[in-house]
Structure formats: C-alpha cells, structure tokens
C-alpha cells in the first residue's frame, strides 16, 4: 500500500518544528520509548518520530506533509488498546492526541457533551455527574483510555447489552482526513442525510481518519442499581441461566460471568465473598427506577433458582454492590497474581454456545498445556479468555498465541467473531482471513482507499494483505481438519 517515504527523519522533524513546539517533536530513542507499544506490549516497534500537536490546524499540516511524502501516520490516544492498533510504524510518525484533553462543553438539557479526543472516558462521567448524567460505554480501561480511542475501537464495556457500544452513544465527530481536510460527520440531530459514515468511522482503528473532536450522548443516571449474584455447579447451567434471564424479558444493565478459575483468583484478590466451590458465577446488575429494580430483582432471583443456582445473593447496599463488582473488576490483575503473564483474548459468540465453547476451551487448555481463566460479558456473548503463561519459558508465548488463534477460530465456527471490542490491530490481522473471504477483504481495502488513497493511515493494521490470507488459510488447513472458511461462509 504505502510506498517508501520520500523524506528523511531529520527533514521531517524540521518541517514539523516549523509549526509545532519543538519540544513536542520527539526524535530521540529514549523519549520515544514509551510509544513503542500500546496495552498489547508483546508487539513493539520504535517509530521514526513522535509528534504532539495541540491544534486541529497543526494536525492538518502534519497530515498534509505525511500524505505528500508517503509517511505512515499512527494516531494514538492513551495507548491502552489491546490489539496493538497503536503500535508504531518504523518508517512513520506517531501522532499523539494527548494534548487534546479538554471537555469543550456539556449541555445538560440536550444530554450531550463535546469533547476533544484525548479526554479520558471516566472523566466524562465524572464531569457529567453534577447534572445527574453519565456516559454509557465503560471499557475496563476507562480510568485511562480516551474517547478518541473509544471511537477508533468502538469500545464497549459491561453495560453494552442495554446501553450499546460507542457507535450507539455518539452524535458526531470532527475528523482530519488523510489529505488534511477537516470534516464533520453527524450532527446535533440523531440522524443525518445519506450513507452512515459515522458508523463506518466508529471502530475503523485509525485507518480512515484522525478524530479531533467527538460529541457524545449522555444518559440520566439510573435511580438505583442492584446486583444479583448467582453461583452454579456447572458452566452449562451458568450459560443456560444467561439465556434464561434474557428470555424472561429482563435486559440487565450488566450481565457478567466468571468460570471456576476466575472465581477463586478474584475472590482471593478482592475477598468479595464469592461462592468458591462454584464452577460458574453470574453477576446480574439490574438498574432503573426504584419500582422497576425491585420488580426485576425478584424475578431474576426466581429465574436463577429455577435454573439450578447453588447460591443466590442480592446486594442490599451500595457498599455490597461495589464489593460484588470489585471481584469482577479486579479479575484481570487477580489472574495476574496466579501467573507470571496472561494473554487476554476477545471473541464473541452467540449466547447459546457459551457452555459448549467453555467446555471445548477446557479441552484445548489440556492440549496446549496452558491454563485458561474466563471472565466475560455474558450478556453480549463477549468472551475474554485469559491464557496464563510464562514469557520467560522459551516457546510458551508462541504456544499461547496458537491457543488464542484456536479459540478465535472456534468463535467464528460457532457463528461468532474474532473480536468483540478490542479490535483487530496487528494482533488479529491474520485471523481476519478466517472470518472474511478475499472478496470481502478486498472490499475493505477499497473502502480504506476511498478515505486514504495513499494508504498512510495506520498501514498494516486491521485488514490483512490478501497474499497473506491464502498462506494463513492453507497453513490452518494442514493443522486442523475442519474448514474454517466454510464455517464462516457456509
């Protein structure tokens, strides 16, 4: 896609320093080091240079210079991504939006907020709280991740089933194109004329443009929220209870599941009082008005008992609710304590396949000789298997990656997808060939070219070059008996 850059590092830095504070045009290895990876630290690359503009006009000029000289540009927010989507390109520029960190305006009556892209996700809800409002999507990294990155990844969180993903919670974005134009997509209104470019941009992983402003919707904070915790003696029963609660007509604010390994690790860490002998644990948060929550809590308890829960406990206070969530929210670091390293996967499956997939994953765990703990957004069928490994043992990370690939392929086989919310980035670019055929991947490349004819925006991420796909698929066919492509497209 990209041709060889036409300028040297020194020339490029000089051009940027003509209009950006020279302290924020970073060219030395030591200062650039923190930018070599994002939250997916297994994938590293040093960039040519890093630039931190502070105005939209400066972003435009950076883009124009890079576009003219075929220099790759990797936009970066807080760098919390989990698919190496913000990993630098060694011949390219890292364009950090860190200085765009201002909440421009909150309109309490219209229930919306205008934000610069570097505003942290949690900061939006903190600022909106004074008006009784909050921002819906709440990815686990919300304390650090930015709204610009959320748009790039279409981030979710624990409340998606009821409140939607980023794409459902934004009104408009201002974007600088690869060619340096500024466009506003969307408006203060709910629907705009013509094809839905706002949806196309959301989740495009920095391949279509650089977001410089985001207008989000805010929601009224529910009067009350309570959690029903239910333990089950098998993953089958836990999985069935997920479907049971939803088909009963209750849409929980959050519906999370943990398997036996995760329950013990999380309870050791948080002392949340989880049933340690359970093989599956559900946390079902019901929110709304006082009356509605009372009604739904009673129904949820009954549904869980009827479906064979071995224990049911409902939070009676805000403290108790926080404690029950504490175990879930600290599950990743808790698992981190029982293993030197862990690798977090992110596939989505139809909810009815939960028990089947967890059982198969246990079998794979034995085959690969690696432990796996499961903590996931059960309401959405979004799995986060944590594969436990030790990076210091030669070959163990490679084995972990192979295990991870097998999990994602299983997700596709049962009707799901390779990534629910972490994005493709570099990490899952090969598995794209499992979910999509060559014509579909070519269509993605053509869409990309419509926005970025020179191919400078985040090259090599998100969509694989077609020649690699054939190789990957044929490799897979040799390794496994089943035909993944047929499973995805049959």
């Amino acid at each position: 896609m990209t041709t060889k850059p036409k300028v040297s590092k020194a020339e490029l830095a000089e051009q940027f320093r003509a209009f950006i504070d020279p302290d924020y045009v970073i060219t030395d290895d030591e200062t650039m080091k923190p930018y070599e990876c994002d939250g997916m630290s297994m994938y590293c690359e040093m960039p040519l240079l890093v630039v931190l503009p502070e105005t939209v006009e400066q972003v435009q000029r950076v883009m124009r210079i890079c576009n003219e000289n075929a220099v790759p540009v990797v936009a970066r927010g807080a760098g919390t991504g989990l698919s190496a989507g913000a990993m630098p390109n060694k011949e390219g520029v890292v364009l950090s939006l860190a200085k765009f960190n201002r909440i421009i305006h909150i309109d309490p009556l219209a229930r919306s907020a205008r934000l610069q892209p570097g505003v942290r996700n949690l900061a939006i809800s903190e600022e909106a709280a004074q008006y009784g409002l909050y921002y819906g999507p709440d990815p686990s990294s919300q304390i650090a991740c930015t709204i610009g990155g959320n748009v790039a990844e279409n981030s979710g969180g624990v409340h998606c089933l009821k409140y939607g993903l980023t794409v459902h919670n934004i009104l408009s974005v201002e974007m600088v194109t690869a060619e340096g134009d500024v466009v506003t997509i969307g408006s203060d209104g709910l629907d705009s004329c013509g094809m839905d470019l706002l949806a196309l941009l959301t989740g495009s992983e920095g391949l279509l443009g650089v977001v410089t402003e985001v207008q989000v919707k805010l929601l009224p904070k529910p009067e009350v929220a309570r959690v029903v915790m239910a333990g089950f003696d098998s993953v089958q029963k836990g999985g069935d209870a997920v479907g049971g609660i939803i088909s009963h007509g209750i849409i929980p604010g959050g519906l999370e599941m943990m398997d036996g390994h995760a329950i013990i690790a999380a309870d050791d860490f948080a002392q949340a009082g989880y049933p340690r002998d359970a093989k599956a644990l559900l946390l079902c948060e019901v929110d709304g008005t006082e009356e509605e929550v009372l009604e739904h809590i009673a129904e949820a308890e009954e549904v869980f008992r009827k479906l064979g829960a071995t224990s049911v406990r409902t939070s009676r206070s805000e403290e108790e609710r926080a404690l029950l969530w504490k175990g879930r929210k600290s599950a990743f670091p808790a698992v981190g304590r029982i293993s030197p390293d862990y690798y977090c996967m992110d596939g989505t499956i139809p909810r009815r396949e939960i028990a089947n997939v967890l059982t198969q994953m246990e079998q794979m765990s034995e085959q690969f000789g690696l432990r796996v703990a499961n903590v996931f957004h059960a309401g959405d069928g979004n799995l986060h298997p944590l594969i436990l490994f030790d990076a210091n043992v030669p070959g163990e990370f490679e084995r972990t990656e192979a295990f991870g690939s097998s999990i994602l392929e299983l997700c596709v086989k049962v009707g799901g997808c390779i990534t629910g919310e972490h994005g493709v980035g570099v990490e899952k670019v090969r598995q794209m060939a499992v979910q999509f055929n060559d014509e579909e991947l070519q269509q993605f490349h053509d869409v990309k070219a419509a926005f970025d004819p020179a191919g400078i925006l985040n090259p090599g991420k998100g969509v694989p070059a077609l020649r690699f796909c054939q190789e990957y698929r044929s490799l897979e066919h040799k390794q496994h008996k089943h035909d993944h492509t047929e499973a995805a497209h049959g």
Binding site: D107, T202, C417
Partner: protein
C-alpha cells in the same frame, strides 16, 4: 419465501456486462422517498427474496432476507413476546426490512430505543461487481472489519443490494401508558428535554397542535409510579396515536403540501417558518409542512445544529437531501465507487451527483 440471491447476483452481473443501471425495489412503498428513480434504469425486485432465515428469541437476534415484510417479521416476533425496538414506519403492507434500513427509518421511540441502524448486526450484500459479501454477523459485539452493515443505513441502496439482514430484537415492554397535556410550542422544547433528562421510563415524546404526548414503557410498577408523579392526563388508549405518528397516518401528514424533515439539536429553538409543525423525538425530529425556501431552511437547520431534507412531495428532481460540503461529497463519491464502480445501483436516488 425463498432464497433468490443467486438470481439477484446474476441480474446484477447481466446489468454490469450490458452497461445498464438498476433501481432496487422491495415492496415499493417508499418510492416517494429520496429523489425520483431514474426512468432509464431497469428494476431489480427483492419482493420474492423473503423469509426468516434464523431466529433465536433467547439471543435477541433475527436474521431475515431483505425482502421480508415488516408485518411478517413483527408477527413472528410477537409470538415470542418480542418487537422491533425501532418501531419502523409501515407505508403499506408491503414495506420491507431492506427498504427500512436503506432509508434509515425509525419510529417515535428512536431517541431511547435506537434507530434501525442501531439494531443492525450484519448484512449480506451484492456489490456492483456482482460479489455476494457478508459483513458483521449475528452477535451483539463485532468490531472485525469496517462497519459496512450500518453504512447501508440511509445509503438508499446506492452501495449494493442488501440480501440478508441480522438485527437485534427486544422484549415487548410489560406496560405502556401515555400522558397528554396542553402546551404551547414555546414551552414544549424545554419541557420534553427536561423530562428526557430524568431517569424515568420515558420512551417517546411528541408535540402537535398545542398538545404534548409522553409515552412511558417498562415494568408496570415503574410506569405507574412515574405517571402518578408527572403532570398530564393518562390517555384512555394512547397506542393508536403513536401508531399514527409512526406510520405517518396522523392527520398532520395528510394533504399535498411538501413534507420537510428537520433533524436538529433536541433543544434548539424551533425554526421560525410559516406552516404547520409536528415535533417528535423530544425535539430531535421536527416535521414541517409548508412552502418555505430551501436555502432558508438549510440555513435554519444548520443554525439548529442539524440538517433538513425534503421527505415527501415537492420537487423530487432537485436535491432532496441537505447540501453536502465538498470534502464529504468527495468521500461519499469514492465510497460509492468502491462498492459500485460502474454506478449500477439506484443512480441519482440519494443525490443528483451519486
């Protein structure tokens, strides 16, 4: 009730080879939306390409062929106590899910329940090269590849022939109730937005003819407690009112005057124009019947943070969508070209230049 996708694909390839254009038609109930269809283009009918492909009530996911009627879908969902949450307008018995998505049409609950676009999980689509492609899927969360499925919303069939659509469905609320009271237009914008900012089970807010209508839906206890707390009379039977607004069967929508749709900021002061208004979506969607000047309306819509389009009647040979800035025109032209390089599908239906 059959899969005609292979024939549809062949028809596209024939048109491509012959250098012909195609107008994509489902039930034909939305011929009045968008610019007038190109009279020289052939017809690609999806009316026979219908039927439910997959439906798992527990998953809240439905997959249907694009030519399936809304009536059939809603009858199937009703058996399981589920609904299309976006309340699609029916412009006749033949209205299809494909046309609804292509035109991005949603009913009174849209600000709370989301639009048709919001519920879309995946599509299968035949592009202008005659390739039958699959995007998205049948799961709630899926960020693999660009969101080509939702891109189709509002594209009016200019990017390809949608053959299959997967979407999220929801349980029917246990109780619904409508409150009505007298209110002048000057007061209603603030009132509707204030109510929407409360954490109560409000699911629609509409104003017409000096009356404001608020709908409450959800758990019975919550609906009744809120109705007690808020002002307004409980309507004896509110559902027919919302149905009339949803399907544009309300008296406001009858008659020959051009119908304009302002999609603007919910709190923006109402544009000052001679004519009649119906305000929906708690102020985000305002319908106008009148003969105001297009340029003036576009300026007013822009000042109100949004856009205006000519929804029905008036001059369908001119532009009916809000004027697009050059940079966005360029992007949309190139996106169109990436799907339909020969410009086969619905030429000029969305914009004169697309």
């Amino acid at each position: 009730m059959a899969d005609h996708s292979q024939q549809l694909k062949e028809q596209v390839l024939q048109a491509r080879n012959a250098g012909h254009k195609l107008n994509i038609v489902g039930g034909g109930t939305k011929a009045f939306v968008g610019r007038a269809a190109d009279p020289d283009a052939g017809t690609l009918s999806l009316a026979e390409h219908r039927g439910i492909v997959d439906y798992h009530p527990v998953e809240l996911v439905l997959t249907v062929r694009a030519g399936t009627t809304l009536t059939e879908i809603e009858a199937t969902l009703a058996e399981e106590g589920q609904i299309l949450h976006f309340e699609p307008p029916h412009f006749g018995d033949g209205s299809t899910i494909g046309g609804t998505l292509a035109c991005n049409l949603s009913g009174p609950g849209r600000p709370w329940a989301g639009s048709v676009r919001d519920q879309i999980l995946g599509v299968r689509l035949i592009n202008g090269k005659g390739e039958h492609l699959r995007f998205g899927g049948q799961v709630m969360k899926n960020v693999a590849g660009y969101d080509v499925s939702r891109l189709q919303a509002g594209a009016m069939g200019t990017l390809g022939v949608m053959t299959e659509i997967s979407l999220k469905v929801m349980p029917r609320p246990a109780a619904t109730l409508t409150l009505v009271q007298d209110m002048a237009m000057d007061d209603v914008i603030h009132y509707m937005n204030s109510r929407a900012a409360e954490p109560k089970p409000i699911t629609a807010a509409c104003w017409h003819d000096d009356k404001v209508y608020l709908r409450l839906s959800g758990a019975r206890s919550a609906v009744e407690a809120t109705a007690e707390k808020w002002t307004g009379e409980v309507m004896e039977n509110g559902d027919p009112f919302w149905r009339q607004v949803q399907d544009m069967q309300h008296d406001f929508f009858t008659g020959g005057d051009p119908l304009w749709r302002f999609s603007i900021g919910s709190t923006a002061a109402n544009p000052v124009l001679d004519g009649a208004w119906l305000i929906d979506w708690a102020g985000s969607q305002r319908w106008y019947r009148g003969k105001a000047d297009t340029k003036q309306m576009e300026a007013l819509a822009k000042a109100a943070g949004g856009q205006v389009s000519l929804f029905r009647g008036g001059d369908r040979a001119g532009e009916v969508m809000h004027h697009q800035p050059d940079a966005l025109k360029g992007i949309q032209r190139r996106v169109k070209n990436s799907f339909d390089p020969d410009g086969i599908f619905n030429p000029g239906r969305l914009y004169s230049w697309l």
